[in-house]
């Protein structure tokens, strides 16, 4: 396993070059840094493009954005917010409803680099999978957060939410937030593979629900070319989403429709056969098998 783990993506690198095999990873890191930079530019360099934090912000003094999950907790806690926050939440929900809710997770969330690093180390050290609660656990955590909000009349998850805490920490001062981030890193590295994002984080669960009908999707369009190297499974943080699309029978859609997919695009990067690509929900065409090896059955166009 350890040999294989280290070899994930080697073929893709050989065929597409390192950059080509890390395209979306690089773009993603750029996006994560970019979002952070937008927020940090104000307090650090006096460049006030975006004020506030991921929980609520004001861009160029006009565009309000509100974290919809925080907003929802505020609602169930019994506060009807001002119009600014309502509009802000609607804009964010609309955006992620189109983009795939968990696009937030892989392209924006500041915790993602932490859990990605943990996962990288986890695989490097070839550690066992560890504690693997059901993925639905995060939905239960989400429900618990909303129920506690309603009962206590406070925005409950914000007391422990590492996503907003880390972001706020970078912008306003860390306090003990670093300990919390370290705890998540260690948890994901030593105790549970993809433990935080994959099983516990209610923010990810929430965005999964938001994006359950989203338009932007990854498709295993050229699945006929798949040579079963399993590299995509190895890199995907939510690998269960791949099979239905990749291993679907003729007539099954090649689209990854599972809302757990974070639209990170790593499967596109790591596949030497170029099986995957970004497309939209209504494009369920299958591509002709590529010129590479692997004889494939006749592709089906639906």
């Amino acid at each position: 396993m350890s040999k294989e783990a280290l070899l994930v993506g080697q073929e893709a690198i050989a065929r597409k070059g390192w950059i080509g095999a890390h395209r979306f990873l690089l773009l993603r890191r750029a996006s994560q840094l970019g979002f952070l930079a937008l927020f940090v530019a104000g307090p650090w360099f006096g460049l006030w493009i975006v004020e506030g934090t991921l929980a609520g912000s004001l861009t160029l003094g006009t565009l309000p954005l509100t974290d919809p999950l925080v907003f929802l907790q505020s609602l169930v806690a019994g506060h009807w917010p001002e119009m600014t926050a309502i509009i802000g939440a609607l804009i964010v929900v609309a955006a992620y409803a189109l983009l795939g809710g968990r696009t937030y997770c892989s392209w924006v969330c500041p915790i993602n680099p932490v859990t990605d690093a943990a996962n990288w180390l986890h695989r490097r050290l070839n550690l066992p999978k560890g504690w693997q609660p059901k993925r639905s656990t995060r939905l239960w955590v989400l429900a618990a957060a909303l129920i506690v909000s309603a009962i206590t009349g406070t925005i409950a998850w914000e007391v422990v939410n590492p996503v907003t805490m880390l972001h706020r920490g970078i912008l306003f001062g860390m306090g003990f937030t670093w300990a919390m981030v370290l705890a998540i890193f260690l948890f994901d590295t030593l105790m549970a593979r993809h433990g935080w994002c994959g099983h516990l984080c209610p923010v990810g669960a929430f965005y999964g629900l938001v994006g359950s009908k989203s338009v932007v999707r990854v498709s295993a369009k050229a699945r006929a070319a798949c040579d079963d190297c399993m590299d995509c499974y190895a890199v995907c943080p939510e690998m269960h989403v791949i099979s239905p699309a990749l291993k679907g029978k003729d007539g099954d859609t090649p689209l990854i429709l599972a809302p757990d997919c974070t639209n990170c695009g790593r499967c596109i990067d790591v596949c030497s056969e170029n099986v995957f690509s970004f497309t939209h929900r209504f494009d369920d065409t299958l591509a002709e098998p590529s010129d590479h090896h692997t004889p494939a059955p006749d592709p089906q166009t639906a």
Binding site: G52, T53, G56, F71, P133, S136, A144, V148, T154, E158
Partner: protein
């Protein structure tokens, strides 16, 4: 529960235990979270909320901890509570008067910035703010009470002569000086903290406390007779006998002072 093709009993049992485990785990996590929430609600006495902040319970339901109020405060008065270091619920805004008081901006930018209404946009006159109440907590060390003319808190108060007044009284110690006692009037004090910030003592003698600490609450049934009488325009009970008032000081107990009266009989013990 009853699906057309019922799962085998093993699968069903597995489903039930899984669900029970998930529910149990989440109940546990939820309880832990509720406990944390309770804990995080405790505010240290010196933490004051920004102007217009809703009452604390409502505030914690409304503030999304975005920090926009902090960013728009021109005096860097407000800070966001940091995890583990500040008492107030992590991420919510507050200020400490002794560090940086609120300068009571006319346009109240912090309130204007708040997207949720956690800082009530209905507050349009900063003089109506109720961030806390100044209290002369140490009447033994306040220089004015000692008979010296410090007056600093009085002079810096943005609502001078309304929120703080100086009440003149005789200085018993020196016998021929006056004491100018700083007296705070809660209905006008905004809790901005300028007085506490400026108090010349190493530890302020006047402190701004949140309402819940600074103010008593009169019992529900308690009425001030004179106010009720004014409101009614007549005595509350018709034909009420107006008993004579006793005057303070020596010589009043024998009731021979002016305005007093001689009772028709005297108890034996009372006579000197």
């Amino acid at each position: 529960m009853s699906k057309p093709n019922a799962p085998s009993s093993a699968a069903r049992r597995r489903f039930l235990t899984d669900t029970a485990r998930a529910v149990g785990g989440c109940a546990l996590a939820g309880t832990g979270l509720a406990y944390l929430v309770q804990d995080a609600r405790a505010l240290p006495a010196e933490a004051l909320r920004p102007p217009g902040a809703l009452p604390e319970e409502d505030f914690l339901a409304a503030c999304i901890r975005c920090g926009l109020c902090v960013r728009d405060c021109p005096y860097d008065t407000l800070v966001l509570a940091e995890l583990g270091e500040d008492g107030p619920a992590t991420g919510t805004p507050y200020f400490t008067a002794r560090d940086v008081p609120c300068e009571m901006c006319d346009d109240i930018p912090c309130v204007a910035a708040c997207p949720t209404g956690a800082l009530d946009p209905a507050l349009d006159n900063i003089d109506d703010a109720k961030m806390g109440i100044a209290v002369l907590v140490d009447q033994e060390n306040c220089l004015n009470v000692l008979g010296l003319r410090c007056d600093v808190c009085y002079r810096v108060c943005p609502v001078i002569d309304e929120a703080i007044t100086l009440e003149l009284s005789h200085n018993e110690r020196s016998g021929h000086h006056a004491i100018f006692l700083p007296v705070v009037h809660a209905d006008r004090c905004t809790g901005c903290g300028m007085c506490e910030k400026s108090c010349v003592l190493p530890e302020a003698a006047i402190k701004v406390l949140p309402q819940r600490l600074a103010r008593a609450e009169a019992a529900e049934h308690y009425r001030k007779g004179w106010e009720e009488k004014d409101a009614r325009g007549a005595p509350l009970v018709d034909g009420l006998i107006d008993l004579p008032d006793r005057l303070p000081g020596p010589g009043t107990d024998n009731l021979a002072a002016p305005g007093g009266f001689e009772p028709s009989f005297k108890l034996p013990e009372v006579s000197q």
